[in-house]
Amino acid sequence: MIEFFNFYVVPGIVTGSVYALGAIGITLIFGILRFGHFAHGDLATTGAYLALGATALLGLTPWVALPVAMILTALLAYGIHRLFYRHLESRPKILTVMASLGIGMMLRSIVQVVWGVDPLAYGSGIARAQSFGGLMLRPREIATLALTLALVAALLAFLRYSKWGKAMRAMSDNPDLARLCGVNNDQVTRLTWFIVGTLAAASGFCLGINTELTTMMGWSAMLSMFAAAVLGGVGRVEGAVVGGLVIGLAEELSVLLVPSPYKSATAFVILLAILLLRPQGIFKGKVL
């Protein structure tokens, strides 16, 4: 029984945390800026490699390099908005969606040029798993869960209690009315990109530290992140977290039923099922 937890549930929750952090960004962009952001996976990859760069250049340990990477990725996300997406704001949203696909490729290519295409790691050496009454947890797994918990709690508190958090929710809920209340659209958009970039970096970093760094990792994980966002209800932060955990667990548990190469198809099946059966998602999000 405990093996079941060690081999499936723990990895599922760790993967789910990575998806959750990515899905929150996707759901915020969907809710507030109203488009599907297909550069999101590659933004996460870039964040992960920026952390790697910080360890190499500044001699930081990976977990200290993470905040540096989060700040840099937040600035990068805002920069991409300023340079590209902002100019498409008044055009049909599908143009921004297509542009984001291109931005994703561009980011991935830059990462490949700078760091090469071979898998990399934050550090060598094998981290020993510690036993908690038979439950085996590695320090990086505990740290991943703690980080996810802390970021989600901070974001939810910000959205619930702060003036600008409420402005973000208002913008997601009813943009015309938010404007009538005097909420500045541009400021909310800027804030959204900073938050999204921060979370994307955290997501990519956790993905990299729990497996290895590859230039395709964010792109590959993005389908699962979108599935998580839709499953939880588009625009719903708490939904994205639950959705991420469900998709992560479902992927890990799917190998009990189907051969492991089909693992990544699990998210796709769940995405299709939720779109057909309950398009508003678990938490009653926007219907796409």
Partner: protein, 244 residues
């Protein structure tokens, strides 16, 4: 008229003078003029497509104005942006989608005071005194309320910044007669607090009966104006919109 009398006469809080404009190239407004006096409820009625809502939106800076002027408390506000107009003391309640459905009643009111930096407790007390129903429901999501209660949330939100003029676009649309009378009564209470109200109404008969003064618009221009009573008694108007 001697000078003293002119000075003593109350000045209109809002003047719309010969406003022409619309959204695209076509002008929906073909020269609309109206005034609102302090502490007055003024209603705009007219057939569908007369430009009633557009006239109101023009006051709030939501319409491209080609010519004419809008003067608020002696200051020309023609062409101002909505957020600047909010700061100047005019609030607007749209006809539809006028609440944040996923936010609580209390948060909706808070958003109404987004531009305020000060303490809001006095504003909340004022609004909850005006809408006791909302106080009981303040932690409910606005989207879960009935249509009439939602309209109260929308009006409460608009009153948070203590405006001098409130613009209401068809506040009783889709409401039961009971709620319609309640909304009208709230309008009177709001006026008695010193706020002028300009509203657009589909229910012409009831609205003219309760307002101080009314304007009848047709095809984007003034057709008639007068006290509510005069307009109700005018046979031509009765035939035009009020069903004879």
């Amino acid at each position: 008229m001697n000078a003293t009398a002119a000075r003593d006469r109350p000045q209109p809080i809002l003047i719309m003078h010969q406003v022409r404009g619309g959204y695209g190239d076509a002008d929906i407004l073909q020269g609309v003029s109206l005034t609102v006096m302090p502490q007055e409820i003024v209603v705009i009625v007219g057939p569908n497509g007369a430009g009633k809502s557009t006239a109101m939106k023009a006051v709030f800076g939501l319409v491209r104005i080609r010519s004419g002027a809008i003067v608020f408390e002696g200051e020309d506000i023609t062409g101002w942006s909505p957020d600047r107009i909010v700061r100047r003391g005019i609030s607007y309640v749209p006809q539809v989608d006028n609440v944040f459905r996923e936010m609580t009643v209390h948060e909706n009111l808070e958003m109404g005071a987004f531009l305020s930096k000060g303490d809001l407790s006095a504003a909340f007390d004022r609004i909850y005194a005006l809408f006791p129903d909302l106080k009981a429901k303040r932690h409910a999501l606005a989207g879960d309320l009935s249509g009439g209660q939602r309209q109260m949330v929308a009006m409460g939100r608009a009153l948070m910044l203590d405006p001098k003029l409130l613009l209401l676009d068809e506040p009783t649309a889709g409401l039961s007669p009971k709620y319609m009378q309640q909304i009208f009564q709230i309008c009177r209470d709001v006026r008695d607090l010193g706020v002028s109200i300009l509203l657009v109404e589909q229910h012409a008969k009831q609205a003219l009966a309760f307002c101080d003064r009314g304007y009848v618009l047709a095809t984007g221009a003034n057709r008639h104006e007068g006290s509510g009573r005069e307009l109700l008694d005018d046979p031509e108007i009765a035939q035009m919109f009020l069903g004879g």
